[in-house]
């Protein structure tokens, strides 16, 4: 038996979470360093996965398969394709930065209570989420995926509800109420989505007699498994609903601004850059593979919803007064692009969407984490409370600008490549949708630049005048991410090379070919 690399990659943060939680109350710093080291070791493992993965090889690699719950037909089956490898790498890459950025976010306000250990809990929960996200990217058994897809809600729920910004413009009491509201809203939305999916998971088993993704996909391709059209559509809807809540897609998006607004910046990054990717990833892996016909059937509606997400999210972002909520609505707009790319059913669209997931993760992390540093300095999330920051903290302002420009997909920065691919991929098949979606870019320029202008330029506000620039720890968080944004913007080939073969296979699952370019016949 070969070394179970995928299991270890997912298990390491889980073990690390338990170890971190077990650190005694007084040893907060030990817990922090332990969590950071575990996340770095996980990154090393993820890099190993990346290196061992052969883009030209089998569809699922590094597979593991063990019997688990035979009665339910559930197997412990892991395997990664190019898309999963890219997202595992993204996850493992972002977590150390998230931990580092949240270094002081969970320090207890008062010392004295010896049994309440928020710091240990904070970092343990982050590692627990990482473990569950990684294993959901790896699972090729529908049931196994479902279990972790649902279970990751619990640590996230505690992260949102238990830890908020140190200072709040409306005082601690309102903050606590809003926080627990946000946490409950997050959980109820996602749990409802998950339970609907549970019904579909059971239905799939009744129809297919198996939970194995590869087995079902094979049986479907060879025609052994014949699904009635209506059954397939119902099951597709059950799955898609859960993923659309998670992703989130209009009109199921309303939990995201609350969750991102009330949680600390690192947790907000964890939600939008890491966890939400499971939703879009699962659309590619499960919806398209298991229910190709139903996916094609649903395409028009999904595309319309995606475009609505793009425009509506961007419009709401323009109108926000709260920095974190602005970034949340911008993310909703970006998830619209990702979903549009997936359901455009062209190879540019889908590889663009996958690339988009990676790039959006990095660019949002930059923007949100710097916003977090900014907010913790001023003690307010309101845009109106800032002004002229670039004069007092030029490095902070400069990196924030790069993050913002990445969000509006400036050429030369990573998101440009993916957004371009998605738009091209959509345009070749659905020109009208593509054209409307382009409006989203214009609006993105509006909300990011207005945000920058109002907070960073203009006369220096008195409350801002003493604001320190980025500290060493914060620079360590920001600099590598910014470098990566620029590198992938100029040279995206490493990611596309890994992703493209997997995208081709997904395309063949849905029996779609790229539309041939129409060339006017030469006279």
């Amino acid at each position: 038996m070969s070394f179970p690399l995928l299991t270890v990659t997912a298990a390491l943060p889980a073990v690390g979470a338990i170890a971190t939680a077990a650190v005694p109350a007084a040893r907060r710093t030990v817990a922090k360093w332990l969590a950071l080291l575990v996340s770095l070791a996980t990154l090393a493992l993820a890099v190993t996965v990346l290196v061992r993965f052969d883009p030209g090889g089998d569809r699922y690699q590094l597979t593991e398969s063990h019997s688990w719950i035979a009665d339910f037909g559930v197997r412990y089956e892991l395997g990664v394709d190019g898309i999963a490898v890219a997202l595992i790498a993204l996850t493992a890459l972002l977590i150390p930065f998230i931990i580092l950025a949240g270094w002081h976010d969970a320090d207890p306000l008062e010392t004295g209570s010896s049994r309440w250990r928020p710091t240990q809990g904070f970092f343990a929960l982050i590692l627990a989420v990482e473990a569950m996200v990684i294993i959901s990217f790896e699972a090729t058994d529908v049931f196994l995926f479902y279990i972790f897809f649902e279970a990751m809600l619990i640590p996230l729920y505690f992260l949102i509800g238990g830890f908020g910004d140190r200072a709040h413009q409306h005082g601690e009491k309102t903050a606590a109420t809003q926080r627990s509201y946000a946490a409950v809203k997050f959980l109820l939305y996602n749990l409802a989505g998950g339970l609907i999916m549970l019904a579909a998971v059971i239905g799939l088993y009744v129809v297919a007699g198996s939970f194995s993704l590869t087995e079902i996909a094979q049986a479907r391709a060879s025609g052994e498994l014949d699904m009635a059209t209506s059954t397939e559509r119902w099951l597709f809807l059950g799955f898609f609903f859960a993923f659309a809540v998670k992703a989130p897609l209009f009109p199921l998006h309303t939990w995201l601004p609350n969750a991102m607004g009330e949680s600390t910046a690192p947790v907000a990054v964890l939600i939008t850059a890491v966890v939400d990717k499971v939703g879009t990833f699962a659309m590619l892996r499960f919806c398209l593979q298991l229910f190709p016909e139903a996916s094609k059937w649903a395409t028009p509606v999904v595309l319309v919803l995606a475009v609505v997400s793009i425009i509506y999210g961007a419009l709401l972002a323009v109108g926000q007064r709260d920095i974190k909520r602005l970034i949340a609505y911008a993310s909703i707009s970006h998830f619209g692009f990702i979903i549009m790319g997936i359901f455009a059913m062209t190879s540019q669209g889908q590889s663009g969407a996958t690339l988009y997931m990676v790039n959006h993760g990095i660019s949002t992390a930059v923007l949100m984490l710097i916003a977090g540093f900014l907010i913790s300095r001023r003690g307010s999330r309101l845009i109106a409370d800032f002004g002229g920051v670039q004069k007092v903290a030029p490095v902070l302002a400069g990196t924030f600008l790069i993050g913002g420009l990445a969000t509006l997909s400036l050429p030369g920065l990573a998101p440009f490549v993916s957004e371009f691919l998605v738009l091209v991929g959509t345009f070749t098949r659905y020109p009208v949708i593509g054209i409307i979606a382009t409006l989203g870019i214009v609006l993105a320029a509006l909300y990011t630049l207005v945000l920058y202008q109002r907070t960073m330029t203009g006369p220096v506000k008195p409350e801002v005048s003493a604001m320190p620039d980025l500290r060493v720890r914060e620079l360590v968080v920001v600099a590598p991410l910014v470098a990566l944004l620029i590198f992938l913007g100029v040279f995206p080939k490493p990611v596309t090379d890994i992703v493209n073969p997997a995208v081709e296979q997904t395309m063949s699952d849905v029996h779609k070919k790229d539309p041939q370019p129409e060339v006017e016949a030469a006279k």
Partner: protein, 553 residues
Amino acid sequence: MSATAVHSLWTTAAATAADPIGKIDAPKIEYGQLAPTLIIIGAAVLGILAEAFVPRRSRYYAQMFLSVVALIAAFAAVVALAAGGHGTTKAGIAAMGAIAVDGPALFLQGTILLVALVGLFTFAERRLDPEAHGNRVDSFAAQAAAVPGSESEQRAVKAGFTTTEVFPLLLFAVAGMLVFPAANDLLTLFVALEVLSLPLYLLCALARRKRLMSQEAAVKYFLLGAFASAFTLFGIALLYGYAGSMSYGTIAQVVDGTVPEVTPALAGTMGNDALLLVGSALLVMGLLFKVGAVPFHMWTPDVYQGAPTPVTGFMAAATKVAAFGALLRILYVVLPGLRWDWRPVMWGVAIVTMLAGAIVAITQTDIKRLLAYSSIAHAGFILAGVIATTPEGISSVLFYLAAYSFVTIGAFAVVTLVRDAGGEATHLSKWAGLGRRSPLVAAVFAVFLLAFAGIPLTSGFSGKFAVFKAAAEGGAAPLVVIGVISSAIAAFFYIRVIVLMFFSEPRPEGPTVAVPSPLTMTAIGVGVAVTVVLGVAPQYFLDLAGQAGVFVR
């Protein structure tokens, strides 16, 4: 497909078919196969003698010892019977056709005995209430006969009296529960019903604190329970009139029309469909009362709230196991030929039970009432598995019952720990901020709540998945959809409690968490362990339940 062929899906021919009542023979009793029940009844009788003859100061230890030994011995007997193949190949009917010894019976008896053992630990807890007159006291009334608020009660409390009668009462209830799902004729069923119910009525009235509420709960339980018993008895009488027999097997044969011989005296009414329909409806009604299904659930919240919490935990867990066992046997062994009649009705009951339990629970402000409504919703989920009418349906219900009962008993054990000056602090507002004060207790309770909510990696999820899968395979897909919808509704109030415990500020005069003796710790520990093990690695237990999926007839 003929009716008999369908039956063979979930019933096998009995190894020793019982003779129809004709000539009077010397009874032939298989003592070995009845050992679990006999041990418990014997110990209960001994317990009563101990009450009379053992000196007061050593009664507690004598009763504890006797009960623990009896429960473990009975469990060992169940395991021995199962290992000897009585659950599978040698399944048969014992005691002149009165008791079935088969897979479901043994599985449920094993579950009940383990639950009772854990419940016993919470009964025996004596560290939570403050000591009175140098005596450690438990959750039960100092002197049950003393009028609440009277002088004699005050004296009894001051003197630190304790009521060790609860141990034999518990054992008697357990004995009834062991027979209830194994009963193979209607009279045995009824006797078992009474044997399990009467001690429970008494136990409900024995709370040390809030005695009036406890007595009110007992009276409500008794009156409604007596009603339900009367319905059951009436149903039994009508079924006897219909089939001319009390035996499950014979009634089923009459329903199928494959009865070997007709008793001349009953030829007039035999096979009268009105008797059959009304009789079975009344009988099933009585059982639905015991499981707490809507619309026969009215007693549940009051009784769960008023009864001493250890009793509530035991009752919620073990009674449900026994009653669902009996319900399964009635529906699958006696009335399979009637399933086109009862399935639609049970569909309705399951749907209403799931939805009503989940929706009404949202408005509850008392943790015990909340758990009561949650138990109603869970009864609905289990009914979805019952409706499947497949062997997978049976084994999924068995598994769910085992998983659910340990979560329940653990959750109520935690409730006993959260106390203020007035005893247990069951009002939800008092639980605010518990997670800050006692992170461990709150975390354990959160695990139980997540299991109730059916979050993956807990036993609640495995169980829910098992019954929903069985229901979907049995052609009840709409029930599954309603099931997941009500799970989502139910999740809301479980989450609300977690929010309250972890995200709310603790109240200055809030309750404290008592440090229990190892007894309650064991009970809670077992609950958590079973919850996690059945959630992460349920395969072995699913196998057990799967092997136990065939009734003998």
